[in-house]
């Protein structure tokens, strides 16, 4: 991670992803309230085409946002280097796994 990525950039990304997440959540809630999908097929249709890109971005933004947040907590509270590195690796690895899993779900839904 570059010096840039660790301070200002992380802070800016945290804000940008928050905006995307907020917007996407509102869109989701409104979309489901106005037009609740009646069947699994209709649900799946919501993941096709442009929507799949929006969903992929959503998972990416969610995990990236979570990473910056959890990294902040770790930097604040966990000081011994070994514990800190272990925590960062565990959370980072977990988030990458979540992201990959999310991508898989979206792509399967979009393709199926």
């Amino acid at each position: 991670m570059s010096r840039q990525a660790s301070g200002l950039q992380a802070w800016a990304v945290q804000r940008l992803t928050a905006i995307y997440l907020g917007g996407f959540f509102i869109y989701l809630i409104v979309a489901v309230l106005l037009d609740p999908p009646a069947s699994v097929e209709l649900w799946r249709a919501r993941f096709g085409g442009v929507a799949s890109v929006a969903w992929l971005l959503f998972v990416l933004a969610l995990c990236w946002h979570a990473w910056i947040g959890i990294r902040d907590v770790v930097l604040d509270y966990i000081h011994p280097p070994v514990w800190r590195l272990s925590a960062l690796v565990a959370f980072g690895g977990g988030l990458v796994a979540c992201a990959l899993w999310g991508f898989k779900i979206i792509l399967l839904a979009a393709g199926g």
Binding site: Q4, S6, G7, L8, A10, W11, D72, L75, D76, Y77
Partner: protein, 239 residues
């Protein structure tokens, strides 16, 4: 709490600790006859008159020198500008949190001063200094309002959770307010250098906008706003 005209006894509990002789700190109870208009500093002086082993710092008595920051009922303040009538008894007075105690309410503020020093708190010029003063427009002068008034009491930094966790790496609200004071000064010519020096995850970006600093500043300053200005300027620089 409403106060009548006459003297009234008021209960105080004061943090006492003499690291060389005491194994651990204790709270000691005192009673002070409080008068109308009495400040906490006056009450501490009355306690000291009664018990001369009790130590605390103070000097100007009017919120200018910044030496009598203490933690009262859990909130940092200057003893000399805090009326006892506003405090709920028993008034618990402790040293400012997170600093090593030298004795009773006297704490070691070296780290806090070092952080202040690390932001180079003086005007930097690349051009040679002119013969006359460097002029500033009234608008540019206005930029310094809310920044230059800091008396370095430390009430803000010692109530900042981020400063508690990383006092060696996070500069804390006081030093960051000072950094903003020079970054925003039209006469200073080291803006980019100052902003670069704040990069990285710690010095500036440990601030999570909790705003504990704003709540306690006895001069009514807003370090959180100054920190926001620094972040905004860094962002503008980067894009």
């Amino acid at each position: 709490m409403a106060q009548s005209l006459g003297r009234e006894p008021m209960k105080f509990e004061i943090y006492r600790y003499h690291p060389e002789t005491d194994s651990k700190p204790r709270m000691q109870a005192y009673e002070v006859e409080v008068e109308r208009g009495m400040m906490l500093r006056d009450a501490l002086l009355a306690i000291q008159a009664e018990d001369e082993t009790f130590a605390f710092r103070h000097s100007c008595g009017e919120g200018v020198c910044g030496s009598d920051g203490v933690n009262v009922n859990g909130v940092n303040c200057l003893a000399c500008t805090t009326p006892v009538s506003e405090l709920k008894p028993p008034v618990q007075v402790r040293p400012m949190p997170g600093r090593p105690v030298i004795r009773d309410l006297v704490v070691d503020m070296s780290q806090f001063y070092n952080q202040y020093q690390s932001v180079d708190p003086w005007l930097k010029r690349t051009e040679p200094n002119p013969e006359h003063e460097i002029r500033q427009s009234p608008a540019h002068r206005d930029q310094l309002d809310g920044l230059y008034e800091c008396i370095m009491c430390g009430c803000c930094s010692t109530s900042c959770p981020s400063f508690w966790w990383n006092p060696d790496k996070f500069l804390g609200p006081q030093a960051l307010l000072t950094a903003a004071r020079f970054v925003l000064d039209s006469r200073d010519q080291a803006t980019a250098q100052r902003l670069d020096a704040l990069e990285g995850p710690y010095k500036l970006f440990r601030c999570h906008t909790i705003m504990s600093c704003v709540e306690v500043c006895p001069k009514g300053l807003n370090p959180t706003r100054a920190i926001g200005q620094l972040k905004a300027m860094m962002l503008k620089d980067a894009v």
